[in-house]
Structure formats: structure tokens, C-alpha cells
């Protein structure tokens, strides 16, 4: 089932001034329920602008966005509905924390939705547990937490609104390797457990390869590629031509392939690459 359809979306800023810039031009794609999609591209490729359209923070000059079959630009459509269907987690979301306690901060979204106190409580508890936030932290101030903990609390605050589509802009940026892995793993588990759709915006080809089912590549405001992980990373040369690349491990395999070795190219992790290289090794391995 298609949960989100973007049709011929175009957006530009500052029309009529010297600062005019076309940020998005004629973008169309569909996202199915439960998919994990990665949007990749350079800074300035329009990724962040695109996601701010998905929950109607920004309104396109032309085109349409269809959420669960309803056009959000249609007259009489309640914007609040879009905001609840699409949960948007911004870059460095820890900067949005403001409440006195962790609990209250996570509860902010559900409260704004007008839910009952008991419903809010159960939402907070389940969102916190999805992000591995211990109950013992509920009463502490979010500002006393470590960077990684703050990040998880901020993400929990959006998940607690129970959005059908969770969009995260660079969820792991600025964290150390352990923190990065943890956040990505929790997002992936959240998707599996809830069956909700997840869209991440990322610079990391590795994250896209590890977690996503499908990859959208944006370049200069246009949708450059749209396909499964294999389909997109198969086009290493095209990605390179716009200054992007394939995951580091894949790069090694491509180089070996160019040297004439029959290695597979749709391999993205160290373990898989090792297994793929094994049959080609000269000596029998015990």
C-alpha cells in the first residue's frame, strides 16, 4: 500500500530577488507502507527542503503530496493531520529539548495531540523503551544527559506521536561510532517492531546500504536515482559523476573487478565481502 506519493513537486525560494534559487524541481516518487528509504545527496541538493515538505512545514509552489490517499494541499485538509502522520526528526534534534524532565519532553508531542493522560503515559513509555531510555532517567533534566542520550530522547519525542511515517534528517550526525551504531540499530528495530515507514536523510552511503530497502539520490534539486540499494549502488560511475560514492567496501570490490577479478559488486559490508572473496582465493582455506 502506498502511504506517501510525491507528484511533480517544485519549490524555489526568493523569487524575484537576487537570491532566487530553485531548491526542488519536478520531484516524483512513491513510498510503500513499512519501507525503509534513504534519501542521499550533497548538502544543498534539496534533501532537507524535500523532507520539510512531507509534513507541510514548507509548501511547494507546484505539485502535490498525497498522504494515505489524501492530497495535503487540497482545500480543507487539516495540516495537523499531516504533522501527525509524518513525524519529522531534525538534524541535531537535541537542540529542541526544552522541558524540565525527560518524561515531559517526550510527552510534549502526544500532549499537543490532545491525548488522554493515560494514553500519553503509555506512549511515552513505549517510545522511551524503543530508544533504550531507562525509566530511571524520566525525572532527570534532559540537559544533564550525555550527547547520545539527548539525541535518543529527542527522537523518542517524535516517535511518541506514533507517526505512520518517521522521517529522520541525519539521525547519527556528530555521534561517536558506538553512538552512531546504536541510533541506527534502534531506528531499524523500531521499524521492524511497528511496521511503520522510515525515511532517513543521510550522507552515509554505508548507512543507506546497511539499513535501507530503497535509495533516493537527489542532486541539484532533482531526483537523480530511485531504486533498491543494489540498483543504485550498481551505478557507481553515475554516483561518482555527481560527487557521491558507493560504500567503502563496495569501492574495493569495484576496483578489484576493474582489475579483472570476478567479484560480485552488490556487497556492502566487511563480512559479506570476505565471504564473497573466499571462493576466489588461490589456496584452499582450512
Amino acid at each position: 500500500m502506498t502511504v506517501l506519493e510525491v507528484k511533480n513537486l517544485s519549490y524555489s525560494y526568493g523569487s524575484g530577488t537576487p537570491f532566487y534559487k530553485k531548491a526542488l524541481s519536478d520531484i516524483s516518487f512513491k513510498i510503500e507502507k513499512g519501507e525503509f528509504v534513504a534519501i542521499i545527496g550533497h548538502t544543498g541538493s534539496g534533501k532537507s527542503t524535500l523532507v520539510s515538505h512531507l509534513n507541510a512545514l514548507t509548501r511547494a509552489q507546484s505539485g502535490s503530496i498525497i498522504l494515505n490517499g489524501e492530497d495535503i494541499y487540497k482545500k480543507g485538509y487539516n495540516i495537523k493531520k499531516a504533522r501527525q502522520t509524518v513525524g519529522l526528526v531534525f538534524q541535531y534534534p537535541e537542540y529542541q529539548l526544552f522541558e524540565e524532565t525527560v518524561y515531559r519532553d517526550i510527552a510534549f508531542g502526544p500532549k499537543n495531540m490532545g491525548l488522554s493522560e493515560s494514553e500519553i503515559k503509555s506512549r511515552v513509555i513505549s517510545a522511551a523503551s524503543a530508544l533504550e531510555i531507562d525509566k530511571s532517567m524520566f525525572n532527570s533534566s534532559p540537559f544533564e544527559l550525555s550527547g547520545g542520550q539527548k539525541r535518543r530522547v529527542a527522537i523518542a519525542g517524535v516517535i511518541a506521536m506514533n507517526p505512520e511515517i518517521l522521517v529522520l534528517d541525519e539521525p547519527a550526525a556528530g555521534l561517536d561510532p558506538k553512538g552512531r551504531d546504536r541510533v541506527m540499530r534502534l531506528i531499524s528495530e523500531y521499524r521492524k517492531n511497528t511496521g511503520n515507514t522510515v525515511i532517513i536523510v543521510s550522507h552515509s552511503m554505508q548507512d543507506a546500504a546497511n539499513y535501507a530497502d530503497r535509495v533516493l539520490v537527489l542532486n541539484e534539486g532533482k531526483l537523480y536515482l530511485n531504486g533498491t540499494v543494489d540498483e543504485v549502488f550498481e551505478k557507481a560511475d553515475e554516483l561518482e559523476s555527481i560527487g557521491l560514492s558507493v560504500p567503502p567496501i563496495t569501492k574495493i570490490l569495484i576496483e578489484l573487478h576493474k582489475k579483472g577479478y570476478a567479484v560480485p559488486l552488490n556487497v556492502y559490508t566487511a563480512e559479506d565481502a570476505a565471504k564473497a572473496l573466499l571462493p576466489l582465493l588461490k589456496k584452499e582455506v582450512k
Partner: protein, 278 residues
């Protein structure tokens, strides 16, 4: 003790109101011209260590000597700071002026350098980081990588012997990261500037001459990248990782393949080719 450019001896430091020490008895020597990466998870004490190198923080016990000055010596603090430049993580929070070239001039103006000399050194510094064409731009209109290069130019203008960079690439995109890394390496290789690079990107550390791994306020590992990255499990235990190439080597080794651990792609390709059937 004077033979090392940077020498930390039994340095201890506690932040007020925190029970666990940020630095516990850290001893570390860095020589002139070295390119050293300092790795460590968040809160491992690596930023605290960096702030000791130019006297922003001073050791509660133990001593830090840099460029022949003890960092506790307040009479020489500006001499010290003009020889050890610092670049910080958030590019927005370290640029002072509203025009790029004015910002690069900031330190020299503080030091009371002659206007003509400032002009010359500012132009040179901007040239060295490849930002000359943006000298009249406003900082907030630049990309993250460009802002960081301006920040580097700002300390470079002081002609320091050493630059300490505290996670300069953490907030940048891959393109900005590459720009900043290229600049740092060039300054080290071409000008012999000692570089202490604090980072949590393993690929960046692999490009350095030496890696110091911090954990819980202590030096955990210290050696050439090749040596340090051999300890994949140990690094994992302290919240770090190894470069992707290295983990590929490790995976092969686990499957019984006898291949040397490498830390860069080209080396690995050379090694694996010897083992592959054409």
C-alpha cells in the same frame, strides 16, 4: 624535558561538580612535525586534553609543557597561544567577525601586529587553505567545510608551530570533511606544522602518523595507525571501531585467510591480489 614539543606529565583534571575525573594521570609526548590523531568516545577526555595544550584549562596536578612554556605560566600565555592554534568543532561558534578576512586577522590584531604585516599574513593564510576567493564573504553564507577552513586560516595567520583541532569535521558533510582533512595534511606535510587532530572518524585517524586512543580519561593505546588498528576488539570495547578496510581484513582472517591487516584501500588491494585467482 625540553626535547619534546608537547609534553604532558601525570596530568590530572576534574571538572567542578563531577565525581569522575576527566583526565587521570595522563602522560604523553608529541614531537615537532608529528601528525597525531586522538581518538576516543564522547566523554573520554579527548577534548579536555586538547584544551590543556594551549592553557585554556590547566592541570590540577602534573604539568603540560608546550613549545618550552609551562601552560600554567600566565606571563607567557599569549606567547604559548600564538604558537599553538586551536580549531573547534562548531564552525559557527568560533568565527568572530562578519567578513572572512577580518576574522582571519583577529588573532594578529590581538597580538598587536603591524597593519601591513597583518594584511600580508592574512592573504597568505587564506591562500594556504584555498579560501582566497572568499575573503570578502560573510561567514554565515559559507558551507561548513569552508567555515572550518577559515577557522584554520585564522590560527594559521599566527604562524603557529602547532595546530590542535577538536573534532573539526564532526559537523561537516563528506565533501567538507575531505576539504578540511586535505588542508590539515597539507599544512603538516608542507610546512612541518605539528597537528593534533581529535576525531571520531577512523578513516581520518588512519591518515595520521600516530594515534592516541583515550578512554575514561586515560591513554588507552598509543602507536602507529597500523599497530593501533590491529586491536579491533579492544577498540570496540571502548566504543570505537576500525576503518572498513581493516574490518574486511579481520573478516577474512576470521575465515582463515592469511592476509596482513591493512588500513588503506590500496595496500589491501595489493595484498589481496597476491592471493586471488586471476
Amino acid at each position: 624535558m625540553a626535547e619534546h614539543f608537547i609534553s604532558c606529565k601525570n596530568v590530572c583534571f576534574n571538572y567542578e561538580g563531577r565525581s569522575d575525573a576527566a583526565l587521570k594521570n595522563v602522560s604523553l609526548n608529541i614531537d615537532k612535525g608529528e601528525l597525531v590523531a586522538v581518538l576516543g568516545h564522547n566523554g573520554s577526555g579527548k577534548s579536555t586534553l586538547a584544551k590543556h595544550l594551549n592553557g585554556i584549562l590547566t592541570a590540577q596536578s602534573g604539568d603540560v609543557e608546550v613549545a618550552g612554556y609551562n601552560t600554567k605560566d600566565e606571563n607567557n600565555i599569549f606567547n604559548l597561544r600564538s604558537r599553538v592554534g586551536m580549531v573547534f568543532q562548531n564552525p559557527d561558534n568560533q568565527l568572530v567577525a562578519t567578513i572572512v578576512e577580518e576574522d582571519v586577522a583577529f588573532a594578529l590584531e590581538n597580538l598587536g601586529v603591524e597593519p601591513k604585516e597583518i594584511r600580508k599574513r592574512v592573504d597568505e593564510a587564506l591562500e594556504a587553505v584555498g579560501m582566497s576567493e572568499f575573503k570578502l564573504s560573510q561567514p554565515h553564507k559559507l558551507s561548513g567545510g569552508q567555515k572550518q577552513r577559515v577557522a584554520i586560516a585564522g590560527v594559521l595567520a599566527m604562524s603557529p608551530d602547532c595546530i590542535v583541532l577538536d573534532e573539526p569535521t564532526a559537523m561537516l558533510d563528506p565533501k567538507g570533511r575531505a576539504q578540511v582533512m586535505d588542508t590539515i595534511i597539507k599544512l603538516n606535510r608542507e610546512r612541518g606544522i605539528t597537528v593534533v587532530l581529535i576525531t571520531h572518524f577512523m578513516e581520518e585517524a588512519a591518515l595520521c602518523d600516530r594515534i592516541v586512543v583515550m578512554n575514561d580519561g586515560e591513554v588507552f593505546l598509543d602507536g602507529e595507525p597500523k599497530e593501533v588498528f590491529k586491536h579491533a576488539q579492544k577498540l570496540k570495547d571502548v566504543g570505537l571501531a576500525v576503518p572498513d578496510v581493516t574490518s574486511l581484513c579481520n573478516s577474512l582472517q576470521k575465515l582463515g585467510v592469511e592476509i596482513e591487516t591493512s588500513i588503506n584501500k590500496d595496500e589491501f588491494i595489493e595484498n589481496i591480489q597476491k592471493l586471488l585467482i586471476g
